[in-house]
Symmetry: C3
Subunit: 325 residues, 3 copies
């Protein structure tokens, strides 16, 4: 997390938050609690403005490069919507591997070229550490939109923001994470970010897909109470937020092990009858069977609203990083 | 065709047409004659505004998702131009099959995700019924930009609008359709939409590619006079609108049958000497030899203007559906 | 270079330069010295506006089609940034070969369709002469963004503009071109364009990759002093602008010949110690080893700024061609 020197003159009366202006968004670990509170406060203002006027000209004059080395339509579209609703423009670069910038050119050179045209770069890249490498080379802010097995900080931020918007608070809640907790980058980042709040976390997974030891230890050291089980029923009744992730067959050495567990981790309308009346059912999407579509109309099903919240969080980050919030 | 509840407060003085506001555009059969008259009236206003100022801010604040599961640069570009000339923004998603939204995700989930970011979705999909399926799932309006062998209603609308703009009227005209009338989705939709007017229709095709019986019957029941022939010369002199489509070799079981007929359906400058002085030569494009390029400079050649009219019709639909016309 | 009739009424007080308004940008040979001076003057104004306000509405109301038959992310992004920073919109069409416009459709028809939607077309196409073909068919201006082994005039313009901005002048300079001078389209166009100025040109290349005879003769006839060598050291000390290009292994019949020369044409920090204190090191990018990244922080390394200058030159061309500069 680099604090950069302002490259523009600050118009009289404009306020820039030095915690964000010109800063790269690389990892959830760069945020303190009051950083999150600021982001969420701005995100909430964004949602109100979008409901009122659709788009507005806060970032008029700014051009964002959306540099995607691997496809991620959901994330890419969310950033496009975010910059457009703020009155800015976008240079969209998909599938860089098929394009000329990849003709043996280093990520460093690509980023240094594109920052000549734009005010910030959103980077999706399959290799861990690529976002940090880009940030090191660039003078304009880099926003990490996923660097392979590394981080995807805007996903974790939108997850926590969703919890706050759906439940009215984050402190005091019990969050249950379900599914593949071993390989799921999403739940790892979410758990880390939740250490900034007063929460209790349950992990529900097959034994083969448990939350990694090292992460459980890190979260424990932050003073968070954690509980592990293979049985959703045993914790569902106390759960305020149920965060579901996909269990991929390929993760199991023995296919029979997959068949044995897969049904116990599918959310159906029947499952929801055992859940609290006020709770939030979340999923990073896409889903492929983990939540039965019959659950979609349940008012507790928050996963599509989660996508909408994501746009507001990305609007907030863009505005903060570009010094306009 | 679903009438939706307004999701926004209506600013004082703004008028919304309940026949269009929030409505899905799925099929030509959803339109009555006065619907078309409204669309064409707005489209004409759009053309005047574009000629005067290029773009204007009628849909400022609106974001359109252009969701294309198969490539169609012509249609996609036309919608991009339409929303941009109205001051709105676009999320462009091409080749979904290569992208992450297709990772086993249902069309329903993809659409419900993208509508969180945008105000309407234009959908191109290879499967018949997909637009209706998307409209069922979505709360925002869906515009069908072609669902495989199903419908492509904006194409038919622009075809009829072109006739009106080129000829000054639609009632009283003789429209001759030429080429592959069996498989051509375009001529089927156009013929259906023309039943709302007082026209006479000629079909000119090889015997193997005749207009389907069931459609001829449907159009007959609407009180339209139809005439079938294999010989263009026999009807060319009375034709006000000649609508040419492509004849694909692959449609013939016997290649010799194709060779025997192909030349009789190619429009050349010589053909045009037998046509009326005031008439319109149309083609949905792309063409691959059905109309000789030497015809392009003939003032009756309307097929490139037809593309321009298409943009105005799409501008009109977007404005009507989003409650701003 | 075609002078076109204005298609719009000229608002009172607006000035249009008839040398540019509605004109196709096809080749460096269409420009005279005072044309370049005008383009560079406007480009410089563009840079000042971008530094002051980021984007502005000079081309509000205009839609540009970016029609790329082969990928060129760098050039494409530069034009996207240019039109967006001028308040216009873009229809982006990548990889036409995978898309529907290529379904056997002629370039002529594709261009005549797209100009219905837009005010100008930037064309990248692998075949020499394609830009001229498109310009012949179109009524809207065509900007050649590379037609295979043909021309890439906006690259040459930005190269000369870079020299002027970096050195304060062009007249009186010694420009040294290094690398593959035989196949490099970039250096050919640059050398041609430099004949409009009072410069001296050195060519440094392996014998197998010398500047073509015919070009050397053409430039000589324009009164330019040229000097050829295989040895960079012999001319480095007198060089004001060192323009480096890539040497591709595949260009050598005998791989040993490549191995023998490749290192003598790599620029390192050590090389720069022998260069003038005030000089500009340029490269069209991407580079793959011709300039060591350790040189990047040298203030004389101008290749990333060269990308930025490219955006201003493209902004200037768009504004001039669309009659707004």
């Amino acid at each position: 997390m680099t604090i950069r020197r302002p490259t523009e003159h600050l118009p009289f009366g404009e306020k820039r938050d030095p915690r964000f202006f010109g800063v790269d968004i690389l990892s959830v670990s760069q945020f303190k609690r009051d950083d999150l509170e600021k982001i969420f406060e701005v995100a909430h203002e964004m949602s109100e403005m979008v409901h009122r006027v659709g788009t507005f000209d806060l970032l008029k004059g700014k051009v964002l490069t959306n540099l995607f080395y691997e496809p991620s339509t959901r994330t890419s579209s969310s950033f496009v919507a975010a910059i457009e609703r703020l009155g800015g423009s976008v240079i969209q670069i998909n599938n860089v591997t098929f394009s000329s910038v990849s003709k043996g050119e280093s990520l460093r050179d690509t980023v240094r070229t594109l920052e000549q045209y734009s005010d910030a770069i959103v980077l999706r890249h399959p290799e861990q550490g690529s976002a940090a490498e880009a940030a090191y080379a660039a003078t304009k802010p880099i926003i990490n939109a996923g660097d392979g097995p590394g981080e995807h900080p805007t996903q974790a931020l939108l997850d926590v923001y969703t919890i706050g918007e759906e439940m009215g608070t984050i402190d005091g809640l019990t969050v249950t994470m379900l599914g593949d907790l071993k390989y799921g980058r999403t739940v790892h980042s979410l758990a880390k970010l939740l250490t900034l709040f007063d929460v209790r976390i349950n992990y529900v997974s097959p034994l083969a897909l448990r939350m990694p030891e090292v992460l459980v230890k890190e979260i424990d050291e932050a003073g968070i109470t954690q509980h592990e089980t293979t049985d959703l029923d045993s914790v569902l009744g106390e759960t305020d937020v149920l965060y579901v992730t996909r269990i991929q067959k390929e993760r199991f050495e023995n296919p029979a092990d997959y068949e044995a567990v897969k049904d116990s981790y599918v959310i159906t309308p029947e499952t929801m009858t055992h859940a609290k009346d006020k709770m939030a059912l979340m999923h990073p999407l896409p889903r492929v069977g983990e939540i039965n579509p019959d659950v979609d109309e349940d008012p507790r099903a928050a996963y599509f609203r989660q996508m909408e919240y994501g746009m507001y969080v990305r609007m907030a980050l863009l505005a903060l990083v570009l010094g306009k919030a």
